[in-house]
């Protein structure tokens, strides 16, 4: 017959300070892990969620990102009418020529960052990037010094709010709209007229990349190969989703870092939990002897102590998880997003969000801590000989 769960619960509350400290230790480990994990999954989510699998990105061969690629007007004319490029209602090819420049922006607190400014043509850009929506104000008008800013940019930089005048490059730009894209990296960008941006940056070639929508049923690889094989221009095409997935790979090192941190902290917490439960076993030796004497089996004693340990871990997770979630909200409110990308010449503004998957990982960690931490003391408790245990007490 197993011991009732309430026995384990009551035992926890019998030594409040000790239980409280152990719960706190596990809670802190949970907070630290969740917070870090949340940050990195947010970074990955931002990068991976960008792009549409129906879209191809065309860059100059050998460019690893569109910020360093340069393309001519002729190249655009030559691939526009390729088979496989989707047509819109007016039978125009759905292809968005884009120019990337990364000028200085000034943060509200004075720091300087490189921000990705994307020069586009309004209609094809919004048609190809279907997830990008103007959520406030309106789209810019070409050749009128207007700009729309991503939601991550709007709150972060000086002059980047709707209706303000934004200074970057050689000129001043009127912010007429705010764009959102469901959390993807377009929200860290500023969109302006491609021609105006080219003039401002004095670029010799007008474009960096083309984004094209494939017609339904098109074989993406075949189209990409055809674009790559065009002898007139050294071009390279790949699905947009692959492109952003590659950008997200740099987050993998960070994952290794966080997993290492979580493991170290977890092992530390295991030691703490083991200690507490050993002390509990020692203090309750007589009690355990009594339980054995009145007929509870070794197994049920073992299970009961494991339950106690797991309960501690569960409490720690509840406390730590909610604390981490609150901290995540507080940090992103205070910092307005966390900037990433030291050497890539652009800042990705990542909204720190502690998501369900981060919490799940932390719950697993907490339960493993509880289980491993409880195992040795529980076995010692189960192994006590009733007569000796009673005599000791």
């Amino acid at each position: 017959m197993p011991l009732p769960l309430s026995y384990s619960v009551r035992s926890l509350f019998a030594r409040r300070l000790r239980t409280g400290l152990t719960v706190s230790v596990i809670a802190l480990v949970v907070v630290a892990t969740t917070l870090f994990l949340g940050l990195i999954t947010s970074l990955r989510r931002t990068l991976v969620s960008t792009g549409d699998e129906r879209n191809l990105i065309v860059m100059r061969k050998g460019s690893s990102n569109d910020g360093s690629s340069q393309l001519s007007l002729q190249a655009l004319q030559d691939i526009r009418f390729f088979d496989g490029v989707a047509r819109d209602a007016a039978d125009d090819p759905m292809i968005s020529p884009e120019l990337i420049v990364q000028p200085f922006f000034w943060r509200k607190d004075g720091g300087r960052e490189n921000v990705l400014v994307r020069g586009v043509e309004p209609a094809p850009a919004l048609a190809v990037h279907e997830d990008v929506k103007i959520v406030e104000g309106r789209m810019f008008r070409p050749s009128s010094g207007e700009a729309v800013v991503g939601t991550g940019v709007a709150g972060r930089y000086r002059g980047a709010q709707l209706g303000e005048e934004l200074e970057f490059g050689r000129g001043r730009w009127q912010v007429v709209g705010v764009l959102a894209s469901g959390g993807s990296s377009f929200e860290s960008e500023v969109w302006v007229d491609a021609r105006e941006l080219g003039n401002d940056a004095k670029r010799t070639l007008p474009y960096s990349s083309f984004r094209l929508r494939m017609a339904g049923g098109t074989d993406a690889d075949a189209l990409a190969r055809r674009i790559g094989a065009d002898p007139r221009h050294a071009l390279e095409a790949q699905p947009e989703t692959d492109y952003y997935a590659e950008q997200a790979e740099s987050a993998n090192t960070l994952y290794v870092l966080v997993v290492g941190l979580a493991l170290l902290a977890g092992v530390g917490a295991v030691f703490g939990a083991t200690n507490t439960l050993y002390a509990a076993v020692q203090a309750r030796t007589a009690e355990i002897g009594t339980l054995r004497a009145i007929g509870f089996s070794r197994g049920s004693i073992l299970l009961s102590f494991l339950a106690e340990s797991l309960l501690t871990a569960g409490l720690g997770f509840l406390l730590g998880g909610s604390l981490a979630w609150l901290l995540g909200v507080a940090v992103s409110a205070a910092l307005g997003g966390v900037g990433f990308g030291a050497a890539t010449f652009t800042t990705s503004v990542v909204q720190l969000r502690v998501g369900p998957s981060d919490l799940l990982a932390a719950l697993l960690l907490a339960l493993v801590i509880g289980l491993v931490g409880g195992l040795a003391p529980a076995r010692r408790a189960a192994g006590l000989r009733p007569v000796e245990a009673l005599r000791k007490g």
Partner: protein, 388 residues
């Protein structure tokens, strides 16, 4: 006091499992705190390395990716107070095509770079070769190690900015073993560009050495004034300020690292406090007996605190040693990370290790004080009545 140290040691050994577990937990937490601190410290270390306050950068006011006419280099060289100037242009060469740019590489002016970067102490022979051979390149120690290159090797870099690829010959080492940079001759690049029909007369940044640190501000003002209302207005700043600005977008990440570090430190306090309270609780009877025998409460209090502090410090020392080894292993295994930048150097400086040790000592004392105070101040009669 000293004569009681064996007693303290014996007390620690009474419940060996507990002491070892607590010590291990504290040691691990100290390792974590120290390793986390190496991240922001990497940035400081990086900035301190280039703390040369008489070298300035001149770049386009609009941004680093905005270029300037090549003629600006000559103009900067004529400014009074400028000893010598050189230009940097981002070549963006990729060695392994599928991985993109894995180390920063620039086209520079070999004639003047040795004077501007006198403090790098590039070997005279390497510098002379860099100037003499058109395809020569100087490579930082980190990149040399990462790819196992040595002087004399030929390396082909495909530019991600220009439509060319260049094969350079390594003629020497640049900077220290943490330096990821590669320098190649500007002339080599422009000639290759000409061959494919591109006239390139732009530069990224100009780096200039000023003769007297006191004149730096004046020189910077003069340069920026010279280019005011021109096609490319400039912004000059000291080298340190340039790199500090370059990495400002890491500040948010650093804040989070610091929060997590604080949490882990708090964690140690709880683990240590838990142990201290457990051992004191088990010994109340014994403490009462000692007091009844005439030992002063102050001495008993001190002994209990020293016990907690000793355990924590020994554990802290183990943690610090572990950190020193671990950081060495990681920093030699990890390369240049584009997301972490200089945060990813993982250098456990002496300061970090010493602070880690003091943190452990402090936490030990902190965790011991409350339970020790309670136990040593309890009335003997009350305790003994309870126990017997």
């Amino acid at each position: 006091m000293i004569k009681f140290l064996p007693l303290v040691w014996k007390n620690l050994g009474r419940n060996k499992t507990r002491s070892v577990l607590t010590g291990a937990a504290i040691a691990l937490a100290i390792v974590l705190v120290c390793m986390l601190r190496t991240l922001p410290a990497g940035l400081d270390y990086f900035l301190d390395q280039i703390a040369k306050n008489n070298r300035i950068s001149v770049h386009n006011k609009a941004g680093i990716v905005y270029s300037m006419p090549y003629s600006y280099l000559q103009k900067v060289r004529t400014v009074p107070g400028v000893v010598e100037a050189t230009s940097w242009t981002w070549f963006g060469g990729a060695f392994e095509e599928e991985k993109g740019v894995t180390f920063p590489n620039f086209a520079v002016n070999p004639e003047t770079i040795g004077i501007v970067y006198e403090d790098l102490e590039i070997e005279p022979q390497a510098l002379a070769d860099f100037q003499r051979y058109r395809d020569a390149a100087l490579v930082g120690g980190q990149t040399l190690k990462q790819y196992g290159w040595k002087v004399g090797d030929l390396v082909t870099l495909r530019s991600t900015v220009f439509p060319i690829e260049l094969t350079v010959r390594i003629v020497g080492t640049l900077g220290n073993e943490r330096d990821p940079r590669l320098w190649l001759q500007r002339e080599y690049m422009t000639q290759a560009l000409e061959a494919v029909g591109v006239q390139f007369d732009q530069i990224g940044t100009v780096w200039a050495r000023v003769d007297d640190p006191a004149r730096v501000n004046e020189v910077m003002r003069r340069i920026d004034e010279m280019f005011r209302n021109s096609e490319a207005e400039t912004a000059s700043e000291t080298e340190r300020s340039f790199f500090a600005n370059f990495f400002t977008n890491l500040e948010g990440f650093v804040t989070i690292i610091l929060i997590v570090t604080g949490l882990v430190a708090l964690c140690i306090v709880f683990i240590a406090a838990n142990t201290a309270s457990m051992s004191v609780r088990e010994r109340v009877g014994e403490i009462a007996v000692l007091k009844a025998l005439g030992f002063r409460w102050r001495l008993l209090f001190a002994l209990l605190v020293v016990e907690a502090a000793l355990l924590s410090t020994v554990a802290g020392a183990a943690g610090v040693l572990l950190t020193a080894g671990l950081s060495k292993a990681i920093s030699s295994a990890a390369g240049w990370n584009p997301q972490l930048g200089p945060l990813g150097a993982f250098i456990a400086t002496g300061a970090i290790l010493v602070q880690g040790l003091f943190l452990a000592l402090f936490i030990g004392i902190l965790s011991g004080v409350v339970p020790a105070w309670g136990a040593s101040r309890r009335s003997v009669a009350a305790t003994l009545r309870e126990v017997f």
